[in-house]
Symmetry: C2
Subunit: 446 residues, 2 copies
């Protein structure tokens, strides 16, 4: 075992080796910190990282293990946390100068659950301004002249560069799937309401989701399993039986999965590499994939999403707008100003569409398909750092609260990764991960 290479381990491998006493958390965290020292000057994934404090957490966890105390499924494994999740021991600045110096006194529920599972909170990763469009400092790890995607830019880049095996992000439109695709890692947005958003910056109760980043499906499952749970402080979570993500994701599907290839009304925006990559993938899947037309009502989803996001962000960022609008980006100011003009009747009409649109998808899944197969983005990360790219390929699934995962299965001519997105029905998260593992293995074998 080369202790200098521990950063390449998956979270599942690392947790196993720590549990078995083969490596210590301190060694793992030290190897990850070495990656940060080596790469972060260029990548700029972190907005807060205190190496001594990360090592102190690791040593404390190693000590617990030595004392024979119970250890959790992520014991000693470092994780990056997007800087919109409150942390009681680190600043949380939400990517805005208006929140500079903000130091919450409590952990977000998701962060508390990670600590309970034994994770080392490595540091806070860069977010765009208030998790909306105005970019942070992070660059694409594959080419610093390209965007890493957003808004969970730092989390995606940190996992891609093996600075951490896991990271938390969020998604209100395409903020997990898009940066995962652009950085070439896995991004998973579980069903709306599965993971508590208490203590996370609220943009939109209807659309906000916690997002997960990792480099293997197994790791996504391990992380998801720690985070799902009822939290009375998030009114969209519900009590439910434990979901055995790891066990289900590891299983072979009883039958080879069937995929519904959905182009969406935005297909013409995809670049050549994406079109070709999907054509090959579909040829390879052969009888296991069928192209499915979206039903007409779904084509208005982008408009409903915009109405809801504008109106809810305008409400949730009212204080920032009213007392600090001159220090908001132009894009965010414009969104809030649009949102302030939305009428309550139009907002309610948009909300009322979500359920029937999702019901129509349910029929699709019940009939025949295990997952929808669709691009994660219009192509690889575009050149330039002024924009984080186009979230259109995520909007519909985010609106419906359906689970979605981006897999880095394709590649552009310039070597940048291209994401393939799989989408399942609400609450079908574990099965979606099983299908994703099947597809990743199939592509790797071909």
């Amino acid at each position: 075992m080369d202790l200098n290479n521990l950063h390449v381990l998956s979270a599942s491998e690392a947790a196993r080796l720590i549990r078995e006493g083969v490596i210590t958390s301190e060694q793992l965290v030290e190897a990850c910190l070495a990656r940060v020292r080596e790469l972060d000057e260029q990548v700029q994934a972190w907005t807060f990282l205190d190496p001594d404090y990360a090592l102190a957490q690791a040593r404390a966890l190693d000590q617990l293990r030595l004392e024979g105390k119970p250890i959790g499924p992520l014991h000693g494994v470092p994780i990056g946390v997007k800087d919109i999740f409150d942390t009681a021991d680190m600043p949380t600045e939400n990517g805005s100068v208006l929140h500079a110096g903000r130091t919450p006194s409590r952990d977000a529920t998701a962060v508390a659950m990670l600590r309970a599972a034994g994770a080392v909170i490595m540091g806070k990763t860069v977010t765009t301004e208030f998790a909306y469009f105005a970019p942070g400092k992070t660059r694409n790890p594959h080419n610093p002249e390209h965007t890493p995607g957003g808004s969970s830019s730092g989390s995606a880049a940190a996992v891609a560069t093996e600075m951490v095996p896991l990271a938390l992000g969020s998604q209100t439109n395409g903020s997990t799937i898009r940066p995962a695709a652009f950085c070439g890692v896995l991004g998973f947005k579980p069903t709306h309401g599965l993971i508590s958003r208490h203590g996370v910056l609220t943009l939109s109760r209807t659309l906000d989701h916690v997002g997960l980043f990792a480099r293997t499906v197994e790791d996504i499952a391990l992380l998801a399993e720690q985070l799902v749970g009822y939290d009375e402080r998030d009114p969209d979570t519900r009590p439910r039986a434990r979901i055995p993500f790891v066990e289900v994701a590891a299983r072979e599907p009883p039958l080879p999965p069937m995929f519904a290839f959905v182009k969406t009304p935005h297909w013409e925006r995809t670049d050549e590499a994406t079109k070709e990559g999907f054509a090959e993938l579909i040829e390879d899947l052969d009888k296991r994939v069928e192209e499915v037309e979206l039903f007409p009502s779904a084509s208005d989803a982008w408009e409903w999403h915009r109405t809801i996001m504008d109106a809810e962000m305008a409400a949730n960022l009212a204080r920032e707008y009213e007392s600090g609008r001159d220090r908001l980006s132009e894009q965010l100011r414009a969104l809030i100003e649009r949102g302030r003009e939305v009428r309550a009747v139009d907002y309610q009409r948009a909300i009322a569409q979500i359920r029937p649109i999702h019901e129509s998808f349910l029929e699709l899944f019940e009939q025949r398909y295990d997952a929808i197969l669709t691009p994660a983005a219009a192509g690889a990360a575009p050149r330039g750092l002024a924009s984080t790219g186009d979230p259109s390929f995520c909007t519909l699934w985010t609106l419906c609260g359906m689970p979605a995962i981006s897999l880095p299965l394709l590649e552009a001519a310039n070597g940048l990764p291209i994401g393939v997105q799989l989408v399942g029905p609400r609450a079908g998260d574990a099965r979606l991960l099983r299908t994703a593992r099947w597809l990743a293995a199939r592509v790797a074998a071909s």
Copy 2:
């Protein structure tokens, strides 16, 4: 047993006598129909009542009992249903000419649950126009020149005149508590989300509640126990353990209850009889009651309620407004026109107030008090039929989704009843009924 007087029986007594074979449902329904024939020409409580069909239901239920089939807790007991609850076997016209001739193909969940409990659906009771302010034809049973209150006018009047022992109504502002108070019966508005509103005219998801009418607390408990339950078609209901309303309501409180007398900012609207009645009640309760000032944030509740009700009714009645506004009452048209102008940010701000206001009440209940004691209305039913009276004494409790019950404990000089309202914390419904029974017994004994 005088078969001509069976209409005076409470639902609990009647169900017991039917179960024991002392009387038949047909005899009971016949006695109730005789009351309708005798009184309804003046009272006008019903918008649909087919005596033959009511008797046919009763005979079918009697037959089931004779065959030894399982019988429900309301077996053979007739109930009136406000004409905004869908019934598969009777018209449901929502008090509007725009819905004249409407014949739903399915029962509302609450109606289906009543049938499952063995009830006879006697007929449909008069509602104001779309359960809002414009009066229906019903008159106050104590004096036909006075309003019965609204919007559940027919349900309150039918129970008051012993045409039925039980009735269903609804409340979005004061539509159960107010007519119960004006007609001198018990009206109970359970916690928001406890009883499904699926198949009931939707005015406002946030504010709509199913309401119950009876002449005894025991009957209110019996009816509530049949209706509480999770319904995935009402997104505000939740799975929960069965609530033993009848058992809890019948128990003696472990300690004599403590009451918080709350005047609300509208106290100066109360008439002399109400002021005097409350003064005597409070003197009688002595150390068991304390006057409590509302915390300042609660005083804006009326404004939040109005914003939510305007905006949600405008959304839910959009089709009626857009294609039939000339056949809406002026009041309803004005409300919808206000509602269409509400901005989404203001609507969301109003919604966001509900939780903190209710939390402040929770402290009150946890500290010291079993129930809030407050008027059900500003006084007895006002003279005239052009208005159904002022709902202000209900608004705050409806906004917060707190359980409330009106008890006919006071009387005006003209002999009209005056209601005393008790309010509990959300989910404290069964205990509130226990407290109500204690108070009713105490007043009866004094």
